[in-house]
């Protein structure tokens, strides 16, 4: 933030009014984020197509530019030149606004994500809630697309998509809630700062080096929460195996059926941008964000800019790694049925997420409460912080593992179900 203020002060004359400087600041930050987002989206499409192709024993796009890296640009040009079709029965304005309503909130998500050490556009105190709120807006865009197209497939796709978004938003938010309990705040900018140190114990052991590896994923609460969150992120981003709203082999292309040209491209961009934003969010909340070996060392050595750069690289590495995981899962897993999708959200993820919140509360109690707060029932005061963390990790690991096994067992389908075939 401070650095960009300096940049815009160079750009404008010294006597520039304060609001102009502020507006320029915001414009620059927004521009960097949006251009970065667009480039990321193009790279994502290319990487996904190339990787999937290799997994399916093909080569993938390799004609436009070296190794086909400019394929997305060629696709974009093609999209621009396509005819923009609006069905005669469609509600013109709703049809036109739907892609915008779907894309805008996703671009808004990028604002609060911490991209590196000191690289936060807006440090919102309620960042986690903001992400949840804003990501739920794009559902309205999908509904507008489905309804505005006046097409049964489109409406069906929109309904499916909304049902899916609502069902998976709940475990997603509850999975985040566990981490909010751990960190004691909803600011996304603070989350990576709390994940310094060494795995599991963080910075609690005196004298241990700051490797930047105190990621929440190494704690039992964070592990279960991270898995739930990632699965829900797949569903929110409509990635396979949860791509039921699009399901081009069943309902044409869902809510995108009646879209062509740039409007279709906007939906496409929205989807990939959402995938990337969710990957970054997973990385920030569970994988330490920009924390990584070397960042703290560089910062201590007084090389603040180098530390920021390295931290940005760490974050992008993690986010791209998660995106690759999404690609691999897409290549490996078939699409779920609607009933499977719903039962997975409500019968598996939701109970596990609730148990995880309880585990997180227990973790906070075991690591931070004093004996008096426990009503002198637990003599926790005598333990060193790392010992308390060890005890908490053990207890929550047992709880989470037990809950997972229990949920899997009670939901197990009977091994053999008789099917009566009329003779």
């Amino acid at each position: 933030m401070n650095r960009t203020i300096v940049i815009s002060q160079i750009l404008v004359i010294e006597q520039a009014p304060g609001w102009l400087v502020a507006a320029l600041n915001h414009a620059i930050i927004a521009g960097v984020l949006l251009i970065g987002g667009a480039i990321t989206m193009m790279l994502q499409v290319w990487v996904e197509r190339r990787l999937i192709a290799r997994m399916q024993d093909r080569l993938g796009p390799n004609r436009v530019g070296p190794e086909g890296i400019l394929q997305s640009i060629a696709d974009g040009i093609k999209m621009f030149t396509k005819e923009d079709i609006i069905p005669r029965a469609a509600d013109r304005w709703v049809h036109l606004l739907a892609p915008i309503v779907a894309l805008a909130p996703i671009a808004m998500m990028l604002a609060v994500l911490p991209w590196g050490r000191g690289l936060v556009a807006v440090d919102l105190e309620v960042g986690v809630l903001y992400i949840a709120a804003v990501s739920s807006i794009s559902g309205v865009g999908l509904m507008m697309a489905g309804w505005g197209s006046r097409n049964t497939f489109a409406l069906l796709g929109a309904m499916r998509s909304i049902a899916q978004l609502i069902a998976y938003e709940i475990p997603l938010i509850i999975a985040l809630l566990g981490i909010v309990l751990l960190t004691g705040g909803m600011s996304l900018a603070r989350m990576p700062e709390l994940q310094a140190g060494i795995p599991l114990f963080g910075s609690s052991i005196p004298g241990a080096p700051d490797l930047g590896l105190g990621w929440f994923i190494f704690t039992p609460v964070g592990l279960l929460g991270g898995i739930i969150f990632f699965i829900c992120a797949l569903a929110e981003g409509e990635r396979t195996p949860f791509d039921i709203p699009e399901a081009d082999s069943e309902i044409v292309a869902g809510y995108m059926t009646e879209y062509s040209g740039m409007k279709f491209a906007v939906f496409y961009i929205a989807q990939y941008l959402l995938n990337f934003a969710l990957a970054v969010l997973s990385a920030v909340v569970f994988l330490g964000g920009w924390q990584g070996p070397g960042v703290a060392w560089l910062a201590d050595a007084g090389l603040g800019a180098a530390a920021s750069l390295l931290s940005l690289l760490w974050l992008l590495l993690k986010a791209w790694g998660l995106f690759m995981l999404m690609v691999v899962i897409r290549a490996a897993v078939p699409r779920l049925r609607v009933d499977q999708l719903m039962s997975f959200a409500w019968k598996y993820l939701l109970p596990l997420a609730l148990v995880n919140v309880a585990s997180a509360a227990l973790w906070v109690g075991l690591t931070e409460w004093s004996s008096i707060e426990w009503g002198n029932l637990l003599p926790v005061d005598g333990l060193a912080p790392w010992q308390r963390i060890g005890v908490a990790a053990l207890v929550t690991a047992v709880i989470n593992l037990g809950a997972t096994r229990w949920v899997l067992r009670i939901n197990r389908a009977p091994a053999a179900a008789p099917v009566v075939v009329p003779a």
């Binding site: 509600d91 709703v94 105190e125 709120a133 807006i137 909304i162």
Partner: protein
């Protein structure tokens, strides 16, 4: 600057609210309602109530409006346009409402508000959370119960009763098959 933003948000709120009321097509009205909710959320942000602003967007835009759209789509089979409200004696309502507005606005202008000089607390979300967990614990829990009751109530009210439903082809086949099975069971 802030004045300009406020006026922009306020005009958006009022314009979209008016369109909610006068739109003949119910889905358009619902979409304008969403715009109103969103603008009100922006107003909360401007009033530095971030938590409420974000909660407004989360609950109203993310949940209530989706619910409304679902309800519209489940009930829109026969009438896409409701009967025009202009058909009725709407001017009486308009006159009454304008009168109410005049009374309210005069009152607002007449009251000497004791504006505060206190600084805003820096961290407001934790303060809110603490208040919910201490002073307002009982209302908080009651709100939770209200939500649960509403959830169950909504499900019960809206659930289609199986016997009242028009039987589908699948139901017919299932019924026939059940009858056949019973007949088979009886014979041996």
């Amino acid at each position: 600057m802030v004045t300009v933003i406020f006026i922009a948000i306020a005009s958006l709120i009022i314009a979209s609210a008016v369109l909610v009321v006068i739109s003949r097509e119910i889905v358009r009205a619902a979409l304008w309602l969403i715009a109103t909710f969103f603008a009100v959320g922006a107003l909360y942000l401007l009033l530095e109530a971030e938590f409420i602003g974000v909660a407004q967007v989360l609950v109203y835009v993310g949940a209530v409006s989706i619910l409304i759209l679902f309800a519209i789509m489940l009930t829109r089979q026969h009438e896409r346009h409701e009967p025009a409200w202009r058909a009725g004696p709407w001017w009486i309502a308009l006159a009454g409402v304008i009168g109410l507005a005049a009374v309210l606005i005069t009152t607002i202008g007449a009251v000497p508000w004791r504006l505060t000089d206190d600084d805003l607390p820096v961290s407001r979300a934790p303060q809110l959370g603490t208040a919910l967990m201490r002073e307002y614990l009982l209302p908080f829990q009651l709100a939770a119960i209200v939500l649960l009751v509403a959830l169950i109530g909504a499900v019960v009210i809206a659930m289609e009763e199986r016997r009242r439903r028009t039987p589908t082809l699948a139901d017919d086949i299932a019924a026939q098959r059940g009858a056949a099975d019973r007949a088979e069971d009886g014979t041996p």
